[in-house]
């Protein structure tokens, strides 16, 4: 099991939520004080480096036009971390390539960070949440197709070493691609993809990339991981899916007492509670398939905006499996229950800072996790483990 400290570098100093329509896309940036923002960057970087000291890896992501994540150019932050950190793996999850006009530029950025960090890059790619559409002025229709063309092209950029090649695809066109530098890691840095759909997960599995999913709880995560394992097997990668191919992101707070853990968990909920986004930003036309929009119109739960609609209480989130919080023993048992339910994963993405969770409290949880929970997780879920093994065995036994 590998664990990652993930911070969205949020800017929490906002007026009351009823004074604005949306925390994303349209929130005026006059509400952002750059001096406070600079102090926050310093602090969040310190927390990543403390995580590294404790043996936890580093993860970041990218969002645009939002106070929830003031990291609109994640490769820049990653470049800084590449120089400030020494040993941690550096996961960007990820590059929103369906919203970027030049996949070749993304390949260059990632290759450069891989070299700067002496081969510590883990390169993630995301389709991007729906509220990224408007900031990128990106067409919400056919995003998935753009995403995969871009990703395939980026991998080719990293692995082609004999001078210029051309790409005349459906969405992207280049006559002479020949990136400098090329990545250190061979044949290329590990690729991660996040998705919440079973179709997407099967595709990620077929490619053998690492599949990550965020706050999808028990049953949805199981469906996604099942689809990944099926995609992996159907593509002829063998029966055994290594556990390190699957990643789950949850809100996690570990305290030295139940009371302290509870207080930390309450503050982490800012992630969910603060995500005020109106429907026209949360579900632009074409972002989800027509059939899903029909279900939504009939009152179905919106998986896409689950981020904003999940139980916004600690007890609700714990029950849903979107949060693991408590003393070390409690958190360990919550993670085991969840991991075993979904067939096992080898990457735990810790959403360990949100809103008004102050520096000391953030660091307390990082340390408690790293010292009291992480060693046991590594024992329980060694990297050699096979995901879905129990599940496969049960299915075989049932004939």
């Amino acid at each position: 099991m590998r664990a990652w400290h993930f911070s969205e570098t949020a800017y929490p100093y906002l007026p009351p939520a009823d004074s604005y329509l949306s925390i994303r896309v349209s929130l005026p940036n006059k509400l952002y004080d750059p001096a406070k923002g600079a102090a926050l960057y310093d602090r969040y970087i310190d927390e990543w480096l403390i995580a590294e000291e404790e043996g936890v890896e580093i993860m970041l992501n990218e969002h645009h036009q939002t106070a929830t994540c003031v990291d609109p150019a994640a490769p820049l932050m990653l470049a800084a971390l590449a120089r400030l950190s020494k040993k941690a793996r550096l996961l960007i999850l990820g590059n929103p390539v369906a919203n970027r006009r030049q996949p070749v530029r993304v390949a260059e950025e990632m290759a450069m960070i891989d070299v700067l960090s002496h081969g510590r890059l883990e390169a993630g790619f995301v389709r991007g949440v729906p509220y990224e559409i408007l900031p990128a002025n990106s067409n919400p229709v056919r995003m998935n197709e753009r995403h995969w063309e871009a990703l395939d092209l980026i991998v080719k950029c990293w692995t082609h070493h004999d001078g210029p090649f051309s790409h005349e695809g459906r969405f992207f066109h280049h006559r002479a691609i020949n990136i400098w530098p090329r990545p250190i890691q061979q044949p290329h840095p590990p690729v991660w993809v996040s998705t919440t759909s079973t179709g997407g997960a099967a595709q990620v599995g077929a490619h053998g990339y690492v599949q990550a999913t965020f706050l999808t709880g028990f049953d949805t995560t199981k469906r996604i991981f099942d689809a990944y394992r099926k995609g992996w097997r159907d593509a002829g990668r063998g029966q055994d899916v290594p556990i390190d191919r699957l990643a789950y992101a949850a809100l996690i707070y570990v305290g030295d007492s139940e009371a302290r853990a509870r207080a930390g968990a309450e503050k982490l909920l800012w992630y969910v509670q603060a995500n005020k986004v109106p429907p026209h930003f949360a579900n632009p036309p074409g972002y989800v398939p027509v059939a899903m929009n029909v279900q939504l119109a009939r009152g179905a739960h919106n998986v896409v905006s689950a981020f904003g609609t999940k139980q916004a209480t600690v007890d609700g989130a714990l029950e849903a499996g979107t949060m693991f919080a408590g003393t070390p023993d409690q958190v360990l048992s919550q993670i085991r229950k969840h991991s075993d339910h979904v067939g096992g994963y080898g990457q735990l993405l810790i959403m360990g800072q949100a809103g008004f969770l102050e520096h000391d409290d953030t660091v307390h949880s990082i340390r408690m996790f790293a010292r009291e929970v992480y060693p046991k997780l590594k024992e329980l879920y060694p990297d050699t483990m096979i995901s879905g093994f129990e599940h496969a065995k049960a299915a075989a036994a049932a004939g």
Binding site: V25, N139, V141, N293, V294, A297
Partner: protein
């Protein structure tokens, strides 16, 4: 009226054709619908068909028409509908076209001016006239649906269907239309930067129509658009928003018939 599926450029194109019954009276009329998936335009086309042959395709990605992977802009549809006229053996038509249909129609008339005798564009989009720092057409996808409805309809409550009573198939048609509309108009928003440099080619006398309460196509926009054609005039239908063929069908039909019969 008969709806058939025609295979054109690999696309299954749904075409409503009222047939040749009234052919002797006047030119056939090509009706190009708006971007609304729940737009009951067929009844309006039926009104027009009382006087003449009406040919009304569903644009790709709307109604029963398929949407191929390669198709992603209004220009593609303009060529497709020109080929439809070829396939039907129709040399020259009158055109009535609404909203994004008006954009498609303007593209067609700029490409093949001789194919059109008279052109009526109702609340057409498709050109950029104003300054770079202000959208000519408000961004209906970046506002609450209730706000968009107020721009589209003079009286939303009267015209909007009860969505809870629609069948799944009807809902699917609406959402599919919305998705196709987004695909076509997203960037540049609601226009083709080239179109305004081509419209001088149009030969047909044109009438530009807007509902007096249209919140999407302003009076200034309509005037400016009409001036790009050599021979165009404008008229306003009061008591209607962006879709006067739904809110004031009789007044619009009279205006159209008067213009076409001249």
């Amino acid at each position: 009226m008969n709806t058939t599926i025609m295979k054109i450029a690999g696309i299954d194109l749904e075409v409503l054709d009222s047939g040749n019954e009234n052919a002797a009276k006047s030119k056939p009329l090509l009706f190009l619908h708006s971007g609304m998936g729940n737009d009951p335009w067929q009844s309006f086309a039926g009104e027009l068909a009382k006087q003449r042959r009406v040919i009304a395709p569903s644009h790709p990605g709307f109604g029963q028409s398929s949407l191929p992977e390669w198709l992603d802009c209004v220009d593609d549809i303009a060529y497709l509908h020109l080929e439809l006229l070829d396939r039907l053996g129709v040399e020259q038509v009158d055109m009535v076209a609404c909203s994004i249909g008006g954009w498609i129609g303007a593209e067609m008339a700029s490409k093949a001016p001789q194919r059109f005798r008279r052109v009526v564009l109702i609340g057409p989009v498709g050109v950029k006239l104003g300054s770079a720092d202000k959208l000519d057409i408000p961004d209906i996808f970046a506002m609450p649906q209730t706000d968009a409805d107020k721009l589209i309809y003079k009286d939303p409550e009267k015209l909007l269907p009860d969505f809870s009573k629609l069948s799944e198939a009807e809902l699917a048609t609406i959402f599919r239309a919305r998705e196709t509309l987004a695909l076509l108009v997203w960037e540049p928003w609601m226009h083709n930067t080239k179109l305004k440099h081509r419209l001088h080619r149009v030969i047909a006398p044109a009438m530009f129509v807007r509902g007096g309460s249209d919140g999407l196509v302003s009076a200034n926009y309509l005037e400016g658009y009409a001036k790009l054609l050599p021979n165009a005039r404008t008229t306003t239908i009061s008591g209607a928003g962006h879709l006067p063929h739904l809110e004031q069908p009789q007044a619009l039909t009279s205006a159209i018939n008067e213009f076409l019969e001249k």
